[in-house]
């Protein structure tokens, strides 16, 4: 038995139609049995040329396009664009509008993390948490629907304010949600955090070191799980985030389990922010009046906010003499997270690839734009 057992590597096309690629991403996997030797991501199946579309629209008309940039956190996308435009034109939104924005952004972050919670557990074979996550997300979507009539693409945050004030029944409903949600997060954790199967599937799987994460521009919860305490809400505060008190959870190892714990804790912290914002919510105006022929002065700005998937940046260049932006570039967290994946799934099992992809919370429209 001196001759080694002859094995052969083979190629597997994981995607674009595959249940756990979260949309249409394709991985060309070189497999040695169950072990991934090499993974090459292929993207572009969802490319809708959003940046080009934005160049052909006025600033206001861009907002619905931004909604479709990343549909799990449409509010953040709108807000990122509005913030960039406001910086460009030097507009300040009224205080009440800023508070409403913070409430909506944080609720949207919770909703997005709930989708992540559901899909991650689904990817690792547990079906039930998926529906638990969607149950609470439903409450948040009800709140959004109550406010702006939409459940997914809100078009709520506008340049210089928000589109409309919250209805009177919003606040009691939100208070009810704040009341019950911490218990629900405990329930979610009870189902998975201590579960031995969950732990062996996630611990020490897909370790992303601090250096690799920074070098590849990984941001958000994935970066924090690698032990970098960096949150744009605290370190580059925008809107009113410097007025609220919240903790920034970090991990130590940077494996899938850390990313899981960080996101679970972030939901609680987001709720804390919502609670404080609701207490401080002032009365007043919700919109700054803009001229009908809104033309920001010549200039350029790259503004970034902390999305639920990391740094969401919008680069706008304005020619100064046009109602339309010269260039809009959208930068989503998933783009860099997907880029780093081949580095960290190498040598793992095909099941680890699924776990890593799920824990990175990659969403394809954000990658392809």
């Amino acid at each position: 038995m001196s001759a080694p057992f002859r094995t052969e590597e083979f190629l597997v096309n994981m995607g674009p139609h595959h249940p756990s690629t979260h949309g249409v991403c394709r991985f060309l996997l070189t497999m040695d049995g169950e072990v991934v030797v090499k993974a090459v991501p292929y993207i572009g199946y969802l490319h809708r040329a959003l940046e080009r579309i934005c160049e052909n629209r006025t600033y206001h008309q861009c907002l619905p396009v931004l909604d479709r940039f990343e549909y799990c956190t449409s509010m953040s996308c709108e807000y990122a664009f509005c913030l960039a435009t406001e910086k460009l034109a030097g507009i300040q939104a009224p205080e009440r509008a800023e508070y409403l924005r913070v409430i909506m952004l944080e609720l949207n972050r919770i909703a997005s993390h709930l989708i992540w919670y559901g899909t991650t557990s689904l990817d690792l074979g547990a079906v039930t948490p998926f529906l638990y996550g969607f149950r609470e997300r439903e409450d948040i979507l009800d709140l959004f629907e109550m406010t702006c009539g939409q459940r997914l693409t809100y078009n709520y945050i506008r340049i210089g304010g928000v589109s409309r004030d919250i209805p009177p029944e919003f606040i009691p409903k939100l208070k009810e949600f704040i009341e019950k949600f911490p218990r629900k997060v405990d329930d979610y954790e009870k189902l998975l955090t201590e579960n031995p199967i969950w732990i062996v599937r996630n611990k020490n799987v897909g370790i992303l070191s601090k250096e690799l994460a920074l070098g590849y521009g990984v941001s958000g919860p994935a970066l924090r799980a690698s032990g970098v305490k960096f949150d744009l809400r605290r370190d580059d505060p925008y809107s009113l985030y410097d007025r609220f008190e919240f903790d920034i959870p970090t991990g130590t190892v940077g494996d899938c389990y850390d990313r899981y714990l960080v996101r679970m804790e972030e939901m609680r912290q987001s709720l804390r922010i919502v609670k404080q914002a609701l207490e401080q919510l002032p009365a007043g105006d919700i919109k700054t009046k803009l001229p009908p022929n809104f033309k920001p002065p010549k200039g350029e700005v790259y503004s970034r906010i902390e999305n639920s998937r990391g740094e969401m940046g919008i680069y706008i260049q304005s020619a100064g003499d046009s109602k339309k932006p010269l260039r809009v570039k959208m930068r989503g967290g998933s783009y860099n997270q997907l880029q780093v994946m081949p580095e960290i799934v190498k040598g793992g099992k095909i099941a680890d690839l699924v776990a890593v992809m799920a824990s990175m919370d990659i969403i394809m429209p954000e990658v392809d734009r």
Binding site: G44, L214, Y216, R304, A319, Q339
Partner: protein, 156 residues
């Protein structure tokens, strides 16, 4: 480090090679020549005061007169953020890859190459990824690309 101090520091450190542009509305925007790019990136990455360890974004821009490549960088450690750009003419537009400093530049640069046709030197993996593999209809983000209502995909 606030905006004024940062601007002064960079202008002093790279005197004569970096200009400050007045277009930056919040963070400073610098302009440098294409042959100084890689040296500049290495310098700001290794400089202790700046310690730019995070590449946020690379955006290609077609202003209608020229190409620009805008790099948005940040320091996670020192909480610094600024942009710098390289402007170039349409003909033979090319720029050095910065992957050796920030490996995450890979896809951003590929995108600039694919959508604008700005050649990236020493990139190593310039293949199509947002457009179809056999795309043959020019560079769709250029201003002179007339955007038809329907694009006929090349037959594969």
């Amino acid at each position: 480090m606030d905006k004024a101090a940062l601007t002064k520091y960079i202008l002093d450190k790279f005197a004569g090679k970096v200009d400050l542009l007045d277009t930056g509305k919040v963070e400073p925007v610098f302009r440098l020549e294409s042959d100084f790019l890689l040296e500049f990136c290495r310098a700001i990455n290794s400089d202790e005061t700046l310690h730019i360890d995070f590449l946020c974004n690379i955006a290609g821009v077609d202003t209608g007169e020229r190409f620009e490549v805008v790099y948005s960088v940040a320091s996670v450690k020192n909480r610094i953020r600024f942009d710098f750009k390289i402007a170039m003419a349409y003909e033979n537009a090319e720029v050095e890859s910065v992957q050796s400093v920030w490996p995450g530049a890979n896809w951003h640069e590929r995108e600039v190459w694919e959508l604008y046709g700005i050649n990236i030197l020493n990139h190593g993996n310039l293949t199509r990824f947002l457009l179809p593999d056999n795309w043959d209809q020019g560079y769709p983000m250029r201003k002179n690309w007339d955007a038809p209502d329907f694009v006929r995909m090349p037959e594969s």
